[in-house]
Amino acid sequence: MRAFLNVLLATFNRIIDSGVAEGSSVHHRYRIRSINSFCFFCPIISSPYLPIFYINKIYLAFWCFTIANLLFLTVIWANHKFKFLEAKLLMVFTSNMSVLLASLMLGIESGFHLYIFTAALFVFWLFENQQVRQVILTFFVYVVLYLLIFYHSNHYFPIYTFYFRIGGLSMYDLNVILSLLLTFLLFYNYFTYYKLITSDLLDKQSTLEREVGMRKRSEEETRKLFDDLSLSYKNLEQFSYVVSHNMRAPLANIKGFVSLYDKSRPGTEQNAQIVGYVETASNHLDDILSDLNFILRNRERALENKLELNFQTVVKEISQSLHTEIEATKATVTVDAHMEASIFTIKSALINILYNLVQNSLKYRKNFEDPKVHIGFDHSDNHTYCIKIADNGIGIDLTKHKDRVFKLYSRLNRNVDGKGIGLYLVKTQVEVLGGTIEIHSEPNKGTVFTIRLPK
């Protein structure tokens, strides 16, 4: 007996648990089990009636009940197949039908309204808030039915020996009040739910936008870093190419002269000359290596700290260092900047830049004109400092030499002494400060260098 009961209980549990999966939430589990229990018991309760109907030849009732019971069992089956939505809809339909039938049996006249009421209850019980469509659908169904209550009077539907009355109720009828309450609940439920999901969506959207914004910014930063790195690499490539290229010239001379050295007759005049040439070429080679050192040391300036400097003071310092050259060439160096104007930058870099440019202006002066150098400083822009160095010197033919002006070891004038590294150093210093340099010049019409540094 006990074993039989156990088996019964086990089977019962198995049926009730249809649709309950391993990871189901407590909420889901409760719901499914309630639905399954209800759908299991309704057929059991109504099954005694079936033979009664059949025997009494009330075939309509018999068939209605049978179909309803089958539908109840189908609900359990749907849950078992994890088709929860279908199960729920079926459930609403079958339970409503059962209520109808039950009121039929019990002879409740306003059974139709009872049907509406219970069906609505079921909707609230069965459907989770996520299923808005079902709520809306039910709502519309009930609007239609509600209208039926108020706007159709006294329709009688004959169902076998009973009549169902639809409509013609007063406002004070319990069913009507309940239906009004129901409508209100439906509305309320719908709108609160709608607000909930909208605000939830908006939250999610703003979080997403923020994340996308952050990602975009970090992407941009990465891209900028990459561009900086590429530029540095390109500069390094060019630098090493030029330096090694320029070292080959004196080295080739040394090799050549050594090959001409006549070892069999060491004391000759020609041999002595050759040794002299080798010495000169070696010194030349050494110079280039010193240049290399000098250029590399200049790059270390980038690591120094920035300071707030008074622009006029900086220019005065430079004029003092170039004091001899300025006097010798009868030059004038003027500054166009506010007395208090200051610039926040690396001191040694700025001095190096201005020193080189002013020195160039003095070196490449016109023969019969006193050199005039004018330095302008403009910090009115919120983002950049603008420094202009203008002179009245011999100028540069930019139509021919535009690409070579700032290149390492590119010399554009044979008559003036120079290695061709001055402007290259200026450009690298400007780049170290994160700025740009432009040149405007015409032969015999002087030169203007415009330097823009970020604030």
Binding site: A249, L251, A252, N253, G256, L260, R414, G420
Partner: protein, 125 residues
């Protein structure tokens, strides 16, 4: 065209001295003209009265007017003197670029040798 006249164009005076020594070593009778810039060399060539060399040895790496600038101006003169590029770099791109000038017949890497000059004269002969 003076058959034993060679023109050197190089801004480095030491390089010119060396090249002169090498040319003279190959044949002491060869005369050498040296120019420190492309402009002065072109000026010489433009003047019809000046004896034309049989070959020009041209350096690439010169200030203001480099070897390529010189070649562009030289082609305009339409002289039939052949040119040999002499340079301290064995750069692939430089070598390639010599192909675009039909007067350039060879490419020597510094330092030039007596053998270079000998082969040059053999070809020309």
């Amino acid at each position: 065209m003076q058959q034993n006249l060679v023109m050197l164009v190089d801004d480095d005076p030491m390089s010119n001295t060396y090249s002169t020594l090498v040319v003279k070593k190959q044949n002491p009778n060869t005369e050498v003209l040296t120019f420190n810039s492309g402009t002065s060399a072109l000026k010489y060539l433009k003047d019809g009265a000046n004896p034309k060399p049989v070959i020009i040895l041209l350096d690439l790496n010169m200030p203001v007017m480099n070897g390529w600038d010189f070649m562009e101006e030289y082609e305009k003169l339409d002289l039939d003197i052949e040119v040999v590029v002499v340079t301290s770099s064995n750069d692939y791109e430089d070598r390639n670029r010599t192909r675009s000038f039909h007067r350039i017949i060879d490419y020597f890497v510094k330092p030039i040798t007596v053998d270079n000059i000998r082969r040059l004269f053999l070809r020309n002969a």
